[in-house]
């Protein structure tokens, strides 16, 4: 019995390299592309997993497979709500939601031409805004590109099984056993 207890510290030691058995999906928008990855919490990416992208009306937009590193990328035609799902086919699946606010504002080209024709007497204002908005869009894209991997890293370290959780779970189990034994002692179970 007491020897059996040896198993637990041993397994806890292994936990340094362990990964939780929980499938996770992460995705972010960069320009008009959705980048993402599927991975097991605290561990490596999941290669060749089926990723389904569906829009706000639950219509499937695309189905793709992750590459050997577990990442994928898909060009979307319009900004909007998207729901991503990954399924490894044997009981593991995960979801990720992309909100329309993550996309950069609508392309400037549709707004600027009327503005430019209306303000023919003041050509400066018409010629100044397009580069400005374009610049803003470029900056937004660059920031998204820089921050995307960082967000992913943050998410991943958040998903990692924490020692405190593990110890908490073990504590609960032994606590329950204690309650059961106390219950038995209180009822004065016959000795065997």
């Amino acid at each position: 019995m007491s020897r059996l207890c040896l198993i637990i510290p041993f397994l806890l030691l292994c936990n340094g390299v362990a990964e939780a058995h929980l499938l996770k999906l992460f995705a972010y928008v960069e320009g008009d592309r959705i980048h993402g990855s599927a991975y097991f919490a605290g561990g490596a990416g999941v290669a060749d997993a089926l990723v389904t992208i569906s829009d706000a009306d639950n219509q499937t937009v695309a189905e793709l497979r992750t590459d050997p590193r577990g990442t994928f990328s898909y060009p979307v035609t319009s900004a909007g709500e998207y729901r991503l799902r990954v399924n490894t086919g044997e009981g593991h699946q995960a979801e990720w939601q992309i909100h329309s606010s993550e996309f950069a504002p609508a392309p400037v080209s549709s707004v600027t031409p009327p503005a430019a024709t209306d303000h023919s007497p003041a050509p400066q204002s018409g010629s100044v805004t397009p580069p400005d908005t374009q610049l803003a869009r470029l900056i937004e894209q660059a920031v998204a590109r820089q921050i995307g991997p960082l967000r992913e890293q943050l998410q991943r370290s958040d998903d990692r099984a924490r020692l405190s959780d593990i110890l908490g779970g073990i504590g609960f189990i032994f606590g329950l056993a204690g309650v059961a034994l106390w219950w038995r002692a209180r009822r004065g179970a016959p000795d065997r």
Binding site: I7, L11, A20, F40, G43, E90
Partner: protein, 195 residues
């Protein structure tokens, strides 16, 4: 993923198993049950990538052989902890998960338990290993069965699950065999106590 009839069936069957197990509960086994429950809980955190998925030790054969009926609450409690702390599976599929793991444990106890108790030396290794392998194999079959009944096609799902679990069956057989061999040498009363 799993359809609601499957989820409800799993929950009802698990509730039934738990009721029987608690009525038959041998209080002398509670400490063993707690230790094995904790080992099961922790073992699930140590997983090895296999193909598109990853596997971890289940230990349900070992639990069934040592605990008998007490394996059901032990597995149930450990699965609750996993769902609460790490979000494995979630509480909705708790019933199906418990059933898929506990039923093979009970079958191992019923089929291999009596032979194991009379064995010694190498025979213990063999029967223990067989129990470990049988536990995982039955769990794999039940998982693919519940997947197949719900959504995915049964055969591809079963093939995928079995392919993922194949290396696990070997590992599990080795762990269970050696653990039982060790226990029979140092603390045989753990296994030889009859229900």
């Amino acid at each position: 993923m799993l359809s609601s009839p499957i989820l409800i069936t799993g929950a009802v069957a698990t509730a039934g198993l738990l009721a029987v197990a608690i009525r038959r509960l041998d209080y002398d086994r509670i400490p063993q049950a707690a230790v094995l429950s904790a080992a099961f809980f922790v073992a699930s955190l140590v997983s090895i990538p296999v193909g598109p998925s990853s596997v971890h030790l289940i230990l349900n054969g070992l639990m069934g052989l040592i605990l008998g009926w007490a394996a059901v609450p032990a597995i149930f409690v450990a699965l609750i902890m996993q769902a609460v702390f790490f979000g494995y599976g979630g509480l909705l599929v708790l019933g199906v998960n418990t059933l898929n793991i506990a039923l093979p444990a009970l079958l191992c106890a019923a089929l291999i338990g009596p032979v194991l108790r009379r064995s010694s030396g190498r025979a213990t290794l063999f029967w223990g290993g067989l129990g470990g392998a049988l536990g995982v194999l039955l769990t794999a079959l039940m998982v693919s069965f519940s997947l197949g009944l719900s959504s995915s096609e049964f055969l591809p799902a079963a093939r995928l699950v079995l392919a993922t679990y194949a290396p696990l069956i070997i590992g599990e057989a080795a762990v269970t065999g050696f653990a039982l061999g060790f226990i029979l040498r140092v603390a045989p009363e753990l296994i030889t106590v009859r229900e």
